[in-house]
Subunit: 207 residues, 4 copies
């Protein structure tokens, strides 16, 4: 167990608070509308205080976004039902994702619709960090799909590609709502996505 001094605990707490405030501001005003002033006000802290914990605005926003995504991904991982047979495990995963996404709507709204944090040039440390976070998540999804392939429950598909497509389908469902294209509760899409992803669209005549 990591032993922490009281100061270190407090510091970590402050950092977390600031990142949460940043995420709230991002959710409310978008990335473009997120200023140090607003984050400071949201965190009930003076402007200068932020610079005691983050070296600049970009650092703060990156950390806030990164941690936001990481906690969502961690939650996904934790709720993986490896005990279930592959298809049930996949269904549980998809349902879980929809749950997680719908509890993080505000933050994801800005992230999906405006994020410029993944556009960093190749070689940029922060961009790479986000990319690899995402890549690891995709690898995890691919693992689930691969287990279905190995069990001959899936035809011989490319798990990486399909993991990415499945993810896009799910985030797409959220995006559809965030854009105001539909108003039905997002959870209802889970079954539709699963159905499409599993069975496709083509009729199987004479099956």
């Amino acid at each position: 167990m990591a032993v922490m001094t009281k100061e270190a605990v407090l510091k970590e707490y402050r950092i977390r608070e600031l990142m949460e405030a940043a995420r709230r501001v991002i959710g409310r005003h978008g990335f473009e509308g997120t200023t140090i002033d607003r984050v400071a006000e949201e965190a009930h802290v003076a402007k200068g205080t932020i610079y005691l914990y983050f070296s600049n605005k970009e650092d703060l926003l990156h950390a806030a976004v990164f941690e936001g995504l990481r906690s969502m991904i961690d939650e996904t991982r934790r709720s993986d039902r490896t005990d279930l047979p592959p298809l049930e495990r996949l269904r549980a995963f998809v349902k879980g994702q929809f749950e997680i996404q719908s509890s993080n709507q505000d933050f994801l709204k800005a992230f999906f619709l405006e994020s410029k944090f993944v556009t960093f040039e190749p070689g940029d440390e922060r961009g790479e960090a986000l990319r690899s976070l995402y890549t690891e998540h995709l690898d995890f999804v691919a693992t689930i799909l691969d287990s279905a392939v190995r069990a001959h429950l899936f035809r011989s598909i490319d798990p990486q590609f399909c993991a990415y497509m499945l993810t896009e389908m799910m985030t797409g469902c959220l995006r559809r709502r965030l854009l105001g294209l539909v108003e039905t509760p997002i959870r209802e899409d889970a079954e539709l996505v699963l159905d499409l992803f599993l069975r496709g669209t083509v009729a199987t005549h004479g099956a």
Copy 2:
């Protein structure tokens, strides 16, 4: 035919030029990096001139984005192969979409990864315009899918939903490249997307 005065023609021409310049700047510098100065320079026009044709920066950028998307969608519409049987028509559509997307990468990069133009509050006129542009496009895609359903080539799916999912899968493929997650040419994804969309992932035992 609408009769236009010489002035109106000139005005329309200027507007078009400015929007094109804006789109080039967006493609090159992203939304955040798009300043009135840069657009003016790109359009070989003085800064103040822009304000003769657009009431402010947001107006210009919205119009530029709107027109950019509209021309892509128009092109899609024009190349619709209603003469082909539904599945072939769909294949042609998907291939066409990948072509169109890959010829507009720079602009779409900014649009997908950074755009905040779709986040406008409900009631915002410009947001509504973009929304309905997109909705119409989805309706068009749904029409294609519906023709397959009616021909009993597709099982009984929700064409609207599937149209949205198909669109997300395609834009997802572009996004994957823009994020630097894969480096293969985007056109190669067309068949993969079609295959997944049509057949799903589940093995059809005993078929």
Copy 3:
């Protein structure tokens, strides 16, 4: 003759105005107390305007200092009495220097007592520019001294070194006033400096 457009003339005029305002602010508040806001106010111009003519604060201040010194040095050069015999020429030069210095007291006060503009690292372009401006001035002074050496009016001294010392003695006299060490009018020092510089302190017994 250089032909200038009306715009170029105006631009040069503005630049000159801004540099003069900067010099006045420097004279009044010192370098440390010179802010862009104050210069803008002094020049009756908005803050942003300064950045149309200078790329940043350092640029402005350097230019202001450089031009301030250059015009003093130019004036010195212009009033050089090459027509007089060496010692008379030197006397005229010293008197002239005292005049010039006393008409630029405010600016020189900051420059002598606070200047950090000559401390730039070797290789820094602006520091070099100032250094070579000063070096050229010293060379000019050395020329005068050298003419006296060649005429055997001076003993065999090092003109470069003595030029520097003479300059220091003169600026020292100004500094003495700026520091408030003495209050007599600075012009009175001219003869004293000349006397010391020419004859030294040692008594010439039996002469």
Copy 4:
């Protein structure tokens, strides 16, 4: 002997330590680059501690500068060779000054090239303190010169004025190096300065 409580001794010790740390930081980073943070770090002390011993930054820096100069002047006084005949005494003084200056280059660099501590308004207590420190030093130098005058070794010069000029010549030599105008070791200038100060520049024909 002044009797001091243990606390007073400690306090004095702390004050001295802080001033020394300040001087080191000034020498390393210049006045502009001297922050309370840096001084605190250099003194291995918390930021707030400084304010227990100095009421503000200006106080600290002034005290540090004052003490720095005072110790140099004290050293000068201590090494005065009253036992030697006037001209030898003066020669020893000049040599000693060059020694002292060259062992305090870092600090003097900042002081000569950047200091604004002497520009304080008339009436300012700190400015006055520095002024009178300097005046006393000049008086001391004048004493030496006066002894030469009285011994008829010097012609009838103004000892105060010449003391100031001699001082300026010596600091000028250091300044010349700090500005990077020459690179020769500073001690070599001692003889040149003495020669010029004593004999002046004019040839003494037929003497």
